[in-house]
Amino acid sequence: MSATHANAAGMGGMRAAGDLVARMQMTRGMRLPAAKRYVAEKLRVSPSDLSDPVVMHDVRGALGLGRICYGGAALYPDQPSAMEAKFRIAGLLDVPVNCVDRFRANAGL
């Protein structure tokens, strides 16, 4: 079921920029066109680029927003991932990310 929805209509999450648009919906209550416009402006791409995995692979890599790892050909041990990437996402989107704030406080940063 989830795989079908993902293929039929999903933005692709980390494969593209669906997670970033989702953050604006969840945190700011932005409707989809506004959320896409907001993220696209921050990333300096067009709204339609946000669901293009080829464009976003490079953008995510350049901005350190985390990329999907697989096989031997797409591993990025020296790039930001998970919590590290979320620090950058919070800064880039100018949106508070709860676990980032707590990590910062708990680590004494």
């Binding site: 079921m1 989830s2 795989a3 079908t4 929805h5 993902a6 293929n7 039929a8 209509a9 999903g10 933005m11 692709g12 999450g13 980390m14 494969r15 593209a16 669906g18 997670d19 648009v21 989702a22 953050r23 919906q25 969840m26 945190t27 700011r28 209550g29 932005m30 409707r31 989809l32 959320a35 709204p47 339609s48 669901s51 927003l65 985390g66 999907i68 790892c69 697989y70 991932s81 998970a82 919590m83 990437a85 979320k86 996402i89 508070p96 990310v97 709860n98 676990c99 707590r102 990590f103």
Partner: protein
């Protein structure tokens, strides 16, 4: 006898049937009419019905939205928890399925039950947040029935109502709603303190108007206590059942509310995402069910100020009531919701 070609489609129970294009058009019109008659919403426009017919009348196994029209997937209750474990499920959905949001949940999926294992849930959520990049929300149901005997401490209103003890049944539901709102808030605050991005109050209203009241009261309280948290209120059915009948939220009677009326209360209570649900009639065709679903939810999408993530799981939103929902029907439901409703997510 018609010479029209027969096209494969589905019944609401998932079984395959074939209809002619004319039969499909008749089913679309009948589905729209059923929604209009029941909820007094405007019918779909002619071009919207035509487009729905095009989606349904294709012989292709799979249907999808246009490139560039993709929407956010919140994936309530992420993963099956049997193969990879809970964190493994979330990672799998992030890394392999391209989920935009993932949801950690306890198999019991009830806030009342979760309250008893909250420390474990909080630690699991914290660990997941260290490993994932996509937003992680925590989800469960208000599940009001759990507060009535024999599962809970309160008199069972479903037993009292048939006996005509209406006042007692109402009082029991009011007491249960108070307890449920407290438990939901308690869990939400706990997972927020552990790093959750959002909470999902899923299948709100499943036990009727008191169930929805518990969700709204809790959402308001959560918004006040955790200002930055995302709150998704997902519904259980298209219309709020009046099991109590007199409950109100800020002067609005809850019984009998339709999606476009529910969403306004959800937004007012502090929700940032609303998930309308429309039940499937398992004896009607996919075109009929989709037409009815879209007609009922269209005003909700047009009038909402917050994102709409349509519920398109088993037995809702046009998706057949089948454990193994067929790809052809699920993909058509997803596409129809995006193309015609302009939903913000699924």
């Amino acid at each position: 006898m018609t010479t029209e070609q027969r096209i494969p489609t589905r019944l609401g129970d998932g079984s395959l049937l074939t209809l002619t294009r004319s039969e499909m058009r008749a089913d679309v019109e009948a589905g729209v009419e059923a929604a209009v008659k029941r909820s007094h919403v405007p019918p779909l426009k002619a071009d919207e019905m035509d487009h729905l017919l095009e989606i349904c009348a294709s012989r292709a196994r799979f249907s999808s939205v246009d490139i560039g029209s993709e929407v956010v997937l919140s994936i309530d209750g992420t993963g099956g928890q049997l193969v990879a474990g809970r964190q493994g499920d979330l990672l799998t959905f992030e890394q392999y399925l391209g989920a935009d949001i993932v949801e950690l949940y306890h198999m019991d999926y009830s806030y009342k039950a979760v309250k008893t294992v909250l420390p474990f849930e909080r630690q699991t959520l914290k660990n997941a947040q260290q490993a994932l990049t996509v937003p992680v929300q925590y989800g469960a149901m208000p599940d009001l029935g759990r507060y009535s005997r024999p599962d809970g401490p309160i008199a069972n209103w479903s037993e009292l109502l048939p006996l005509g003890r209406v006042a007692e049944a109402r009082a029991a539901q009011e007491e249960a709603a108070e307890m449920a709102a407290h438990d939901i808030t308690f869990v939400a605050e706990g997972v927020w303190d552990a790093g959750a991005d959002a909470v999902d109050l899923d299948t709100s209203g499943a036990a009727g108007d008191a169930d929805l009241l518990a969700a709204l009261v809790a959402a308001r309280e959560i918004r006040d206590r955790c200002p930055g948290i995302g709150i998704e209120i997902g519904m259980a059915s298209e219309m709020v059942l009046g099991m109590h009948g007199e409950l109100e939220w800020h002067g609005v009677r809850l019984a009998g509310l339709w999606p476009h009326q529910q969403v306004k209360l959800a937004a007012e209570a502090g929700a940032t995402v609303f998930g309308p649900a429309v039940n499937v009639n398992s004896t009607k065709s996919l075109p009929w069910n989709l037409a009815r679903t879209l007609t009922l939810v269209k005003p909700c999408c047009e009038e909402s100020t917050i994102p709409i993530h349509m519920n398109v799981g088993m037995g809702v939103g046009g998706v057949p009531m089948a454990v193994r929902a067929p790809v052809d029907a699920v993909s058509r439901a997803a596409r129809a919701c995006v193309d015609i409703l302009r939903v913000d997510g699924l």
